[in-house]
Symmetry: C2
Subunit: 532 residues, 2 copies
């Protein structure tokens, strides 16, 4: 990727599908990842880091599917894949991204002594050799190569500079400085970058990037300080997800630069109106909730969305608002369908939301829509989003919920009976008397499948307000030490919970297979590989 | 309050109960506020902003209860009350805090032209006069007076300086600079403070404070830049709650200063081990969830808490962690009681958690404990916290849930019957066939009470992992334009949901009364008063 012509243009590098997806309890399938990638392209991000292909066949396939996708924008996003400095990592990364219009390999190795000694258990000389060989090997495959000196904020400046110079000498086109453990502070980080500019002459010829973690609540501020010090790529994730406290929140970076552009002078290529929808999609598919007070995308972020009647106070909108809710797309909720709406109206409404459905996909969506419309007077854009993303969740070869009966009362223990279909298509029935109706259903599912799954987390959110709102349920469970997560949507939270549980159980069983393969092959499990 | 002797000592001013409590959907009763204040004292905050007494009798009473409380620390926290520059506001603030060991009045008026013109509809001269009169009036009552030039980050520096000088001349002991709309950036904010130091000679004799909002994700970074520029009080809220995107997160400020103390040199008086418990209590009582990737207090904030088995990777803890989970009190979850545990064991366990219960309070807690212990094999510290805070929620004179029956199935619409007791003690029964079991119960409660409440939000979280986890439910509803919120805890989420709904309904009805009183008195409703 060449540097943008305008020196004030900031590149948005989204790592939701790589660093974000490494968060505990998140397990997206290929179809879900592809849907998020399409939405990121609509949002106008410059680079999508699609995954870490060496870590599992599933990750490889998802990166490949994204590399092969047709993206709507005229200039499709760069599709990047992560790789350690090992030859096998770089080969896997290249094979996964090679079909993209604009492929990138992102390779990394730590330059801090604490990582070199304790984690890599090697020497600085070896690190230099590995960095050189990795960039050279990647350059044999393609032009666009990014290099990250991992844990740079705790490393000796001179050594990091030396390694960056080596990467640039071998042809790296982007140098990314990660604050891997979320330790730095704005002024300190800016000083580090200025130090690198002074020590690495070639740094001005490539794109300098920043990748900050939020352990001390400074990810956005550190990234911003990095941009002010000369960086022109910022690595971030939707809703700030990522390892531990996560990455810099993409929506905050974009809206900070947008809102203060007149003073700061930097700008991105982002379509800000797609922010709210992107945030909802990622929250829904990952099962990670957004706090009401989350900047930009929280329910209360905009005063006039909060339900407080301040008409008498807000004589002038800008008195208490520096951003307009329409700028981030929060007004795009005007679509309303009813039980008499036809298939064409549904198709049009979905297209407005960015979902192009036809054929069997549309038939299924229309069936779900009719079920819901029979129960709800009005089906809104938010409901449609929830339904369509719910359809994406269907496991290819897992268990499926067929029916259930529950009796609950304060006067006797609740009893549940469930009917499932197995991956092979047999009907399975189980029942249980539990401590609560949800407990009873979940145990009944265990009884039906014969799998001893243990619940780790359970959460329900209403999609929209109103007594007849859709309930969106999130389950994380564990089967023999392997976790699985699932979500479900219904006007009935017991049904939504049961669907989520069955999906989480199917996902855990699938991941057990992946883990077993990894163990057999003697490679580390995906989640145990440290990354920038 | 005098300035601390050590010039590097930073004062923590907590506004959870004032700015935080103004968030939509939060309505804490006096007992809940008092419990949070006691926990803030254990956490070692220096100042508790307890409320805005003029805005409602309920707020006045809560501030008064906190002012009169016995706090465990040898040096009890300052108890502050907010007041506009009006005489009535300052009188109410003084009357509410006057019994505190260390009372403070915090008065404010905007210095930005956009606020002066559009919101105050007055002139700069009038603002100067109001600031002068307000501080002088407050000083007649007490020594410790804080003044805030609201919206200072969008005001002309010279005018803000002039108003601050007036406040200092009249005896203000703390000058607080608010970024009311969350607009500023770290370097810009530091420059503003340096400008004030240059223009206001008396500023070095008082405590300079900062109050930052998180609209652009920079609240912590801006506060930190303010401290580096010389401020020594930081206004913040637990979990970063507050108007719109909220205030700087207290836990991030404390842990940032703690983790980087060797480099920055600033320190607080906070007892970091109380952070996790404080965060859980505030989340539970406000019904505001914490994102898993929230810095310091999110479920994933600490790598080794995340459930990922990285034993092979974490050869040295500091390789990937800059903070230890024990530092913020995340290990304090070792208490486990069972169904055979007696009243004394419960009392001891509660005391370890900071709850001193005896008499009727202990009897009630023991009854609830036994109910839960019959259903769960193990009752953990987290469960006990949830139960005890649930008891705090009992409305004084509201409806109460007595019993319910629900039948739910995928094969026919769910049906619910509920029994309630009215505030007057009569038994009320209602039933309904709904779209889901929760919908059916909520409508049945409407039928029983004859109140047409409309659900706005519904959320369920599991308190701990495990199939038999306690479910914690949060409901926001609306009755005739007035919102009410309620939470409920049970192993049965339908029961927890019904309790939360009944409490929210009682709260909305109580608030309708307050609103009607305010309307009759011709004063603005509490939520419509703009604050820093």
């Amino acid at each position: 990727m060449t540097k943008p012509d305008d020196p004030n243009r900031v590149l948005i590098f989204d790592t939701t599908l790589r660093d974000g997806e490494q968060s505990p309890g998140i397990s997206l399938n290929s179809q879900e990842k592809l849907e998020i990638a399409q939405q990121l392209a609509r949002l106008g991000v410059d680079v999508i880091e699609a995954g870490f292909p060496i870590t599992s066949p599933g990750d490889f396939e998802a990166v490949q599917a994204i590399a092969r996708a047709d993206f709507a924008p005229a200039l499709p996003p760069v599709v990047a894949a992560l790789a350690r400095t090992h030859v096998a990592d770089i080969d896997a990364a290249f094979n996964a991204v090679k079909d993209a219009a604009r492929p990138r390999i992102h390779t990394f190795i730590s330059t801090s002594d604490i990582h070199i000694v304790h984690q890599l258990q090697t020497t600085r000389e070896d690190v230099k050799g590995q960095a050189r060989a990795a960039v050279a090997h990647a350059k044999q495959y393609l032009e666009d190569v990014e290099f990250s000196p991992m844990d740079a904020t705790r490393a000796e400046l001179e050594f990091t500079a030396e390694v960056c110079q080596i990467a640039i000498d071998e042809g790296a086109t982007t140098i990314n400085i990660p604050d891997t453990v979320g330790y730095t502070m704005p002024n300190e980080f800016a000083e580090l970058l200025r130090g690198l500019y002074a020590l690495v002459p070639g740094l001005r010829e490539v794109v300098l990037s920043v990748h900050c973690h939020d352990d001390l609540g400074l990810a956005v501020a550190n990234s911003f300080a990095g941009l002010q010090a000369g960086a022109r790529q910022v690595e971030c994730a939707v809703n700030g997800i990522g390892e531990r406290a996560g990455n810099a929140a993409l929506e905050e970076i974009i809206m900070l630069l947008h809102t203060r552009q007149a003073d700061v002078g930097l700008f991105t290529g982002a379509v800000t109106r797609e922010i709210a929808r992107t945030s909802r999609m990622v929250s829904r598919l990952t099962g990670y909730p957004i706090a009401p007070n989350k900047a930009v995308v929280g329910r209360n972020a905009f005063a006039h969305e909060s339900g407080i009647h301040q008409d008498g106070v807000l004589k002038e909108r800008t008195t208490y608002e520096i951003m307009d809710a329409t700028t981030v797309g929060l007004d795009a909720n005007s679509i309303v369908l009813g039980k008499h709406s036809g298939r064409h109206a549904l198709q049009q409404a979905l297209a407005e939301l960015g979902f192009e459905l036809s054929g069997q996909g549309l038939v299924t969506a229309f069936r779900r829509f009719k079920e819901i419309a029979d129960k709800k007077k009005q089906v809104t854009a938010m409901d449609l989003e929830a339904l369509v993303t719910d359809e994406l969740r269907q496991e290819l070869a897992g268990y499926a919920l067929e029916w259930f009966d529950v009796e609950a009362s304060t006067r006797r223990p609740p009893h549940a009976t469930v009917g499932l279909s197995s991956p092979a298509g047999e009907e399975l029935v189980g029942s249980f008397t539990g401590d609560g109706p949800v407990d009873a259903i979940f145990h009944a599912i265990n009884a039906a499948t014969g799998v001893d799954a243990r619940l780790r987390e359970f959460r329900v959110d209403a999609v929209t307000g109103g007594q007849d709102a859709l309930g969106e349920t999130s389950v994380v469970l564990e089967v023999g030490g392997v976790t699985g997560s699932g979500q479900g949507v219904s006007t009935d939270i017991l049904e939504a919970g049961a669907r989520a549980y069955v999906r989480a159980l199917s996902s855990a069983i699938r991941r057990q297979g992946i883990q077993a393969e990894a163990d057999a092959a003697g490679v580390a499990a995906p989640e145990a590989v440290p990354t920038p």
